[in-house]
């Protein structure tokens, strides 16, 4: 076991940020950590790295107890911070070299590793430019590269694609998948379900400081296999109709995304006619029933639409 988080409790004043939070990570796994804003993802990550002390429970990393002072643990973790933490006035090469030096790498190893990392993050031709001349996506890639320099055993990425264009996001996802194929162990937190679906071999879902579910994607979907998912697109959607739908006895969850209602109902219960009746005045455009995906799992387990959280 590379990482073991056991019943960790962390309080900030009267706020319970982590509530009996547990997690296990095996070598070579890519763990997707999914949760809405304030779920406790970053607190969980910062506890694992030892940046904040925990109040109760225990964390074991590389078979060593994480007490916040263990430098050997830190030496083997690469942390990609949620905010871009690079020196804008220094070149990409200087940034990579400096962060490698913090891990005790010698000059020759740093010089060789810079070329490798530059290739991974796709910045080969731009290393001698300053990041202030980079695009947002390039800065994000350098931000990741700085955490890869010392070839860590465990890479922790906290929302590594926040605020960048789809093209850069897909580039980052491609090289995260490549890192995974090369055997890296990765914890990848994101708001974006499709990212977690794309990269993770196992997924943890967090809400209100709890790990509410964990498993591979098929395992998670199997948990809600009995449910049906109905998507109804209307011309004019309203919160009032959403409430009416929620009050139907056979409806488990309702989420509203733009002009689209996403409704979870238990399988085998004929509820479509009631739904159509409520929404008919809103101008029905399309009605679909579909196979559940991770977004539906999230909706069923938390009662929240992750995308709404992102937008808020």
């Amino acid at each position: 076991m590379l990482l073991q988080v056991d019943e960790v409790i962390k309080r900030f004043g009267s706020t319970l940020a982590l509530d009996c939070c547990s997690m296990q990570v095996e070598e070579g796994e890519v763990i997707g950590l999914l949760g809405p804003n304030g779920a406790g993802k970053t607190t969980c990550i910062r506890s694992i790295i030892g940046l904040i002390p925990i109040d109760e429970g225990s964390i074991t990393v590389f078979s060593q107890k994480q007490d916040g002072k263990n430098r050997e643990i830190r030496r083997n973790i690469g942390y990609v911070t949620q905010e871009i933490t690079i020196y804008e006035q220094m070149s990409g090469r200087d940034n990579l070299a400096f962060f490698a030096s913090l891990y005790g790498m010698d000059k020759l190893s740093i010089a060789n590793r810079i070329e490798e990392v530059a290739q991974i993050i796709g910045l080969e031709g731009r290393l001698d430019d300053k990041p202030k001349h980079y695009s947002g996506g390039m800065k994000r890639r350098l931000n990741i590269g700085c955490a890869l320099m010392h070839s860590p055993r465990l890479i922790i990425m906290d929302e590594p694609t926040v605020g960048i264009d789809p093209q850069s996001r897909s580039f980052i996802l491609r090289f995260v998948k490549q890192l995974a194929r090369d055997g890296s162990t990765i914890i990848y937190t994101s708001h974006y379900i499709e990212e977690v679906e794309a990269v993770a071999s196992r997924i943890y879902i967090m809400d209100n400081g709890h790990m509410i579910a964990q498993g591979t994607l098929p395992e998670l979907i199997a948990r809600i296999q009995g449910d049906h998912f109905i998507e109804v697109e209307v011309r004019i959607a309203s919160e009032e109709k959403k409430l009416q739908l929620q009050q139907l006895p056979d409806v488990k969850e309702v989420a509203l995304e733009g002009n689209r209602y996403r409704i979870v109902v238990p399988g085998g219960i004929p509820v479509l006619d009631k739904i159509v009746l409520i929404l008919s005045e809103q101008g029905l455009v399309t009605i679909n029933t579909k196979q559940p995906n991770l977004e539906d799992v999230f909706l069923t387990l938390t009662g929240k639409q992750l995308r709404d959280e992102v937008q808020s």
């Binding site: 002072k69 830190r74 911070t81 949620q82 006035q89 070299a97 400096f98 891990y103």
Partner: protein
């Protein structure tokens, strides 16, 4: 690490320009006043020319503002999101603090040296016993950089450190008599010569140029003692922010 920090400090061209050109402009201005309007410097110049005393005075004044070199760099690393990146590495925070202090001290001292060279070439200022004068100026730089760093770590905010050093850098030169003569009397003489770290550095510089070795050693020793005190204060403050 020091090489990286030096490179980082050297990128702040606006800061360097302000800390070199502004004192030069003020030296030109005051030198013009002394020569043409027949007013006297308030500094005890001893046997030195007023321009020499002016250059030393302004060099010491702008060293105080130069303390921002270390505390602003430290704040960028230790009191910003960068903190997580650095603290998640195995490096000991005292190495980060010391490397930034060392590089900022070197850069600030270089600024002072450039000021002396320019004043010497352009305005004809002369500095007898130059190596000892440079020693005093270096000790003063170390004091100011440490002072700014302790302030930052004590208050935890770059704004407060900036405000305190700005106020300190505005008031202290007046007590040395840099901008206008102080009233006559023993109290003001003592204030001008020994009233602040800047006074001590100023007195030590002028003393060594005039061959008053005893006075030079006393003032330098007090400055070194103050540095030792700041250094001892620094240790628990660094431990406090370290994980």
């Amino acid at each position: 690490m020091i090489a990286f920090q030096l490179k980082r400090s050297s990128r702040d061209l606006v800061g360097h320009t302000v800390l070199i050109l502004f004192p030069l402009a003020l030296i030109f201005f005051f030198d013009y006043l002394y020569k043409n309007i027949n007013i006297e410097t308030g500094m005890g110049t001893g046997g030195q020319s007023p321009i020499t005393a002016l250059v030393i005075g302004f060099a010491l004044t702008f060293q105080i503002y130069g303390s921002a070199l270390s505390f602003e760099t430290l704040a960028e690393d230790l009191f910003s999101p960068m903190q997580d990146r650095i603290f998640s590495s195995p490096v000991e925070i005292r190495f980060i603090v010391l490397s930034i202090l060392t590089s900022s001290t070197l850069v600030s001292f270089l600024q002072t040296a450039i000021l002396l060279v320019f004043s010497s070439i352009i305005l004809g200022a002369s500095f007898p016993s130059l190596p000892f004068v440079l020693l005093v100026l270096l000790v003063s730089v170390v004091f100011n950089q440490l002072f700014g760093t302790v302030l930052l770590l004590l208050t935890g905010g770059v704004k407060t450190a900036n405000m305190v050093t700005t106020i300190y850098g505005s008031i202290v030169p007046m007590t040395v008599g840099l901008y206008f003569p102080l009233p006559k009397g023993e109290f003001f003489r003592l204030l001008r010569m020994y009233g602040s770290p800047m006074s001590l550095a100023n007195t030590a510089s002028l003393a060594v140029m005039e061959g008053q070795i005893r006075l030079f050693i006393i003032c330098l020793a007090v400055l070194l003692l103050l540095i030792a005190v700041l250094f001892f204060c620094l240790q628990p403050l660094v431990r406090r922010i370290s994980i």
